[in-house]
């Protein structure tokens, strides 16, 4: 059973529809107790970093996530801002992140990304898997996913980078440490490539 965290907005329904078609059982989790029966957890993205952290705390889900993900080691997949929440902090906000993957979230800026003149980074881009991993096995280097963001995850530890993408400079488009995964793109809006990724997560 996959729990899709529901804390305000985001593409809960689109993720649910994909699992429905794949015949993978899922539950929309808005309360801490909804995570009890889950074997895996998806943390989707909402608008802004601080707002998302606040919603997680208000609903009691932050504490529940600590228990299920950090202590019980259930696999978790963060999507878009859901991935960014895994970091220690973000330039988008002032609140602390979950701090589960060592890094900070930074804005694309011209000093670091010479050609990234159009922000947000919007559209279909290549994702190059960097290390051997069940989420990206058999994917090869031709896979494209849909991106929509102005901030990116800057990893402190190279080994946490799962895949990279080029936008006038290379950034981590997927991260992983132990049972915790994050993808900057939207698998629920990336057609077959995205469906395959969500399927692989359900098979972890």
């Amino acid at each position: 059973m996959i729990a899709i965290i529901h804390y305000g907005s985001g593409n809960i329904q689109a993720i649910g529809n994909i699992y429905h078609r794949l015949n993978v059982p899922f539950v929309i989790a808005a309360r801490p107790e909804d995570l009890e029966k889950a074997t895996k957890i998806i943390l989707p993205g909402v608008g802004a970093f601080d707002q998302a952290i606040r919603e997680l705390e208000k609903s009691g889900l932050r504490e529940a996530l600590n228990k299920h993900v950090l202590h019980n080691k259930k696999p978790l997949l963060g999507i878009c801002v859901g991935m960014q929440l895994l970091a220690n902090s973000s330039e988008e906000g002032v609140l602390k992140g979950l701090g589960w993957i060592d890094g900070s979230v930074r804005r694309f800026d011209h000093a670091r990304f010479i050609q990234a003149t159009h922000l947000p980074h919007m559209g279909w881009n290549d994702v190059e898997p960097g290390k051997d991993n069940p989420l990206f096995n058999d994917v090869g280097s031709g896979a494209r996913y849909y991106f929509l963001h102005s901030y990116y995850f800057s990893c402190c530890r190279r080994e946490d980078i799962l895949a990279t993408t080029d936008y006038g400079g290379t950034f981590a488009s997927a991260v992983n440490s132990e049972n915790i995964y994050g993808v900057q793109f939207h698998p629920e809006k990336s057609h077959q490539a995205g469906i395959q990724l969500l399927k692989k997560f359900s098979n972890l």
Binding site: G8, L119, M122, L148, Q192
Partner: protein, 263 residues
């Protein structure tokens, strides 16, 4: 490498899909949900749906229809039509829509763009600019209410203001080229592209993939949207939903900027 987006743009009127010419003479082309299902299979880059009744009839967005469309879409979805307030935008995003487009509300009150961007993030805030050439002086002007009301605003200046106010994307639509299928208005696009760094999507005039290639060749990373091209086939404009394959899309870029990228 980020790719230009090739985006079907669908118009909804009385719950059915229509296609207009110069913003008038709507022709019924089918059922919206059915179209989304076909575009899913064709793996389109994005999908834009405008409800062209909502603003002119002064009604609320049709939330049930939006939810039905959003949950069917396996691609990013942008909705526009009748959106006037921060609350409406938040409600629409909760239904699973990635981007919400505004037109008349943003033209009447540009401060609204900042307010919405603060609440939902710039990446979800799209402003549609419907431009028409003034034949007396050759200048472009922005129109609202399906081309029924001239705001006399200048597209370039207003696009710059939108960028400063935190919009995430501009869809630039040519009323003169709408449904004509003779190619995009490159003069209009030139003016706006040079004035802003925001993601820009152009709409109005595509009659063949060649027209799309022209735009990509000139501007590289840009959104290229079309209505008629993806719903009609042949000179008699028979309704047939179509979209280039991944290979055909790659060929649209192959000749031009992928080569530049490698240099």
């Amino acid at each position: 490498m980020l790719r230009p987006r090739v985006t079907p743009c669908l118009l909804v009127q009385n719950k059915g899909l229509v296609k207009t010419v110069n913003f008038s003479r709507p022709k019924y082309v089918g059922d919206p949900i059915n179209a989304v299902k076909i575009f899913n299979e064709k793996e389109v880059d994005e999908l834009v749906v405008f409800d062209i009744d909502a603003t002119s009839k002064k009604c609320e967005p049709d939330y049930q229809m939006i939810q039905n469309l959003a949950s069917e879409c396996r691609m990013p979805f942008c909705y526009g039509g009748g959106v006037k307030t921060v609350e409406q935008v938040k409600k629409i995003i909760k239904l699973g829509v990635e981007k919400v487009a505004m037109s008349s509300a943003a033209l009447e009150n540009p401060a609204l763009v900042s307010m919405i961007a603060e609440q939902v993030g710039s990446q979800s805030v799209v402003v549609v600019l419907d431009a028409k050439k003034n034949l007396k002086n050759g200048n472009y002007e922005l129109w609202t209410h399906n081309g029924g009301k001239n705001t006399e605003k200048d597209p370039v200046q207003f696009a710059q203001e939108l960028e400063a106010r935190g919009a995430g994307e501009i869809i630039l639509n040519s009323i003169d080229q709408d449904g004509v299928m003779k190619g995009y208005d490159l003069v209009l696009i030139d003016q706006v592209r040079q004035a802003i760094t925001l993601p820009l999507t152009v709409l109005g005039g595509a009659g063949s993939l060649k027209h799309i290639e022209e735009v990509i060749c000139k501007y590289g990373i840009i959104g290229v949207a079309a209505g008629s091209l993806f719903v009609f086939k042949g000179i008699y404009r028979a309704v047939l939903i179509n979209y280039p394959s991944r290979f055909e899309k790659d060929m649209l870029l192959n000749n031009t900027y992928m080569l530049n990228e490698r240099k």
